[in-house]
């Protein structure tokens, strides 16, 4: 068993990065996630593992620094919060187009615009449906505990390298700022240049070796037919993600007559709401998507044949609800309940919404 500690969600991102053999972090401070870089700077991992930590001049620069490092086969990370992720959208599109693996952490706050520093889940669309230009997808992981903040760093890197695609941990100010006990992973050493060449020599740009041709990393293709083929290849990759790497959690779904669907901190609230509803005699279950892309369509479609209705609880105006509706089809009602602007719904509000919007409706 690994080391047990009491830590903030943001702090554990930094600790997990060091422990999983991360080569570099490039970021820019923004509330409510500044502790990620602060923790890294305090830990000075360059002395311990050789990991580079650099405060960039902007989010735009930091994501393109990630591009450079990722293109040389390094395990590289950035973190930001909603307005900062908007600035990174350009770079994220380029990373997806150039098929580079990296990990991006978005500790969401309320928007649009400068918004608030309080938690929100309003970047669901931006994260799962693009955000930047072009037809691309990110692998999006939604932790609902500090432990998962820790676990999803290595998981995010594994998936990013498996598919040569950017992965994102989509969390929010609740999980970023809360303290919980966490079991830390054991240290994994950083890959050496030789190991990087052995594993990723077919595409990395870390200096042409005698035994390989030069590598070129680009997302540019002027020939329309080849460009379409590139896009078809990307779409095939995204379809493979949907086949192989969908993650979700089901709580008390076996006998459920109604289903809550929620991710991240909303899912934590819904766990309590499930308990409260069951105390009232309402048979409610919870489905928590862990990967927001690839989205757990099949388990939701399956439960749509079992339950009388679904309530999608999100800290936004209704974003994931569209994916749930698509997965569930038209046979049962799928309704949304959400709070915006940094307000966290209470379990009681969720039960009330369930009763009013589904059971009594």
């Amino acid at each position: 068993m690994g080391e047990l500690r009491l830590m903030k969600g943001n702090e554990v991102i930094a600790e997990a990065a060091i422990r999983c053999g991360c080569d570099g972090y490039f970021g820019y401070p923004i509330t409510p996630q500044s502790e990620v870089m602060e923790t890294l700077m305090d830990r000075e991992p360059w002395n311990e593992t050789g990991m580079v930590v650099l405060q960039a001049e902007s989010e735009i620069a930091s994501i393109h620094m990630v591009h450079g490092a990722a293109g040389s086969g390094k395990k590289v990370l950035t973190s930001s919060s909603s307005p900062g992720i908007s600035l990174m959208a350009e770079g994220i599109s380029y990373l997806a187009g150039a098929e580079l693996p990296c990990l991006i952490v978005n500790v969401q706050r309320g928007g649009p615009g400068l918004g608030t520093i309080q938690p929100s889940q309003a970047d669901y669309w931006q994260s799962t449906k693009g955000g930047g230009h072009g037809d691309y997808r990110l692998i999006v992981l939604a932790p609902s505990s500090v432990q998962e903040m820790n676990d999803f760093v290595e998981l995010g890197f594994q998936l990013a390298f498996k598919y040569r695609n950017p992965a994102m941990i989509l969390t929010d100010g609740v999980i970023g700022q809360m303290m919980e006990k966490v079991v830390l992973a054991d240290y994994i050493p950083r890959l050496t240049d030789e190991e990087i060449n052995e594993k990723y020599g077919s595409w990395v740009t870390n200096g042409r070796k005698h035994n390989r041709q030069r590598n070129i990393i680009t997302s540019l293709e002027m020939d329309s037919v080849r460009m379409e083929n590139n896009n078809l290849r990307l779409q095939k990759k995204y379809a493979r993600m949907e086949e192989e790497d969908v993650l979700f959690e089901e709580i008390l779904c076996e006998d459920a007559e109604y289903l809550l669907v929620a991710f991240g901190s909303s899912a934590r609230i819904c766990q309590k709401a499930v308990d409260q509803a069951r105390e009232k005699g309402i048979k409610v279950g919870l489905l928590r998507p862990i990967t927001l892309f690839p989205f757990p369509q099949k388990p939701i479609a399956k439960l749509a044949k079992q339950v009388k209705g679904m309530l999608v609880v999100e800290m936004n105006a209704g974003q994931m609800v569209e994916d749930v509706k698509l997965a569930a089809g038209c046979a049962i009602p799928v309704v949304h309940f959400g709070r915006m602007g940094g307000i966290i719904p209470s379990p009681g509000e969720v039960v009330e919404a369930l009763e009013q919007k589904l059971i009594g409706g």
Partner: protein, 266 residues
């Protein structure tokens, strides 16, 4: 003397660098990029660093620079090459990294990235090709466009009141303590080509020696968008560009204290 006596391997004094690929360059006839690419190939080959050099190409005419030099390359978003190069360089400290950027890329959309990379003193080389105009998009005004210069977006000539002033970004770069060698060159005559090659070699050596950022501006022509013949474009450059973009070293820390920058007079 017969032709066969002249075209003879024994008489060969100058050959194509091995690092230059066989690809036909896409540049317009008379464009300076081809010469600068060749110089880069020669320098990298002469220094024997082709297996540890990574180039970062820009958005703009030189976006396809990666098609012409047999080294590893990354293509960067418009203006972001210094950030991409920072990521490569920081995580690969034993490699040699350079960016190749035009004036729209470096001095307009990428001003923040170039300033901060130079100010941090990233160990890398920046090749800055300044032809005073946006080449690839069809000859619009660049930050470096001279006052009065006609472009697609200043059809009556650049007017300071409407369009602001031309930006001598290399002078700004030279003031940053992170830079070690900042120079302005050109490639319009055999003599300046040789001089420019020396400057590029010096810049690469400074990066290898981890002295910070080296910055080589190459004042160039864009005869197509300037709507001139190559010869006329070179003459126009000497007459109009050089008085404002004065050729020469702006900073050389191998000779001086890096902090003791003296602005060029013109």
């Amino acid at each position: 003397m017969e032709l066969a006596d002249i075209i003879n391997p024994n008489n060969l004094v100058y050959e194509k660098p091995k690092l230059l690929t066989e690809n036909t360059m896409h540049y317009c006839p008379g464009c300076s990029h081809g010469v600068i690419h060749r110089l880069l190939a020669e320098v990298i080959e002469d220094m024997g660093i082709q297996d540890k050099t990574i180039g970062v190409s820009p958005v703009g005419c030189a976006v396809f620079a990666y098609n012409y030099l047999e080294i590893d390359w990354q293509e960067a978003a418009h203006g972001r090459a210094p950030a991409v190069a920072t990521g490569i360089s920081r995580t690969n400290p034993n490699k040699v990294v350079f960016t190749y950027q035009g004036d729209g890329d470096l001095a307009s959309i990428g001003t923040a990235e170039i300033m901060h990379a130079c100010n941090r003193g990233e160990n890398m080389v920046v090749i800055f090709v300044n032809n005073g105009i946006y080449g690839m998009t069809g000859g619009q005004m660049a930050p470096t466009t001279l006052l009065g210069q006609v472009t697609a977006t200043t059809p009556n000539g650049r007017d300071a009141g409407r369009n602001g002033y031309p930006l001598r970004i290399t002078e700004l770069i030279a003031q940053l303590p992170g830079t070690s060698y900042v120079t302005r060159q050109s490639v319009h005559t055999p003599a300046t080509i040789r001089k420019c090659k020396k400057a590029i070699a010096k810049a690469f050596q400074a990066a290898i020696d981890k002295k910070g950022t080296s910055f080589v501006e190459v004042v160039s022509t864009c005869n197509m968008n300037w709507k001139m013949t190559p010869v006329k474009a070179n003459e126009w450059m000497v007459e109009n560009m050089f008085p404002f973009y004065v050729p020469g070293d702006l900073k050389d820390s191998s000779k001086n204290d890096p902090e003791s920058y003296t602005p060029l007079k013109n």
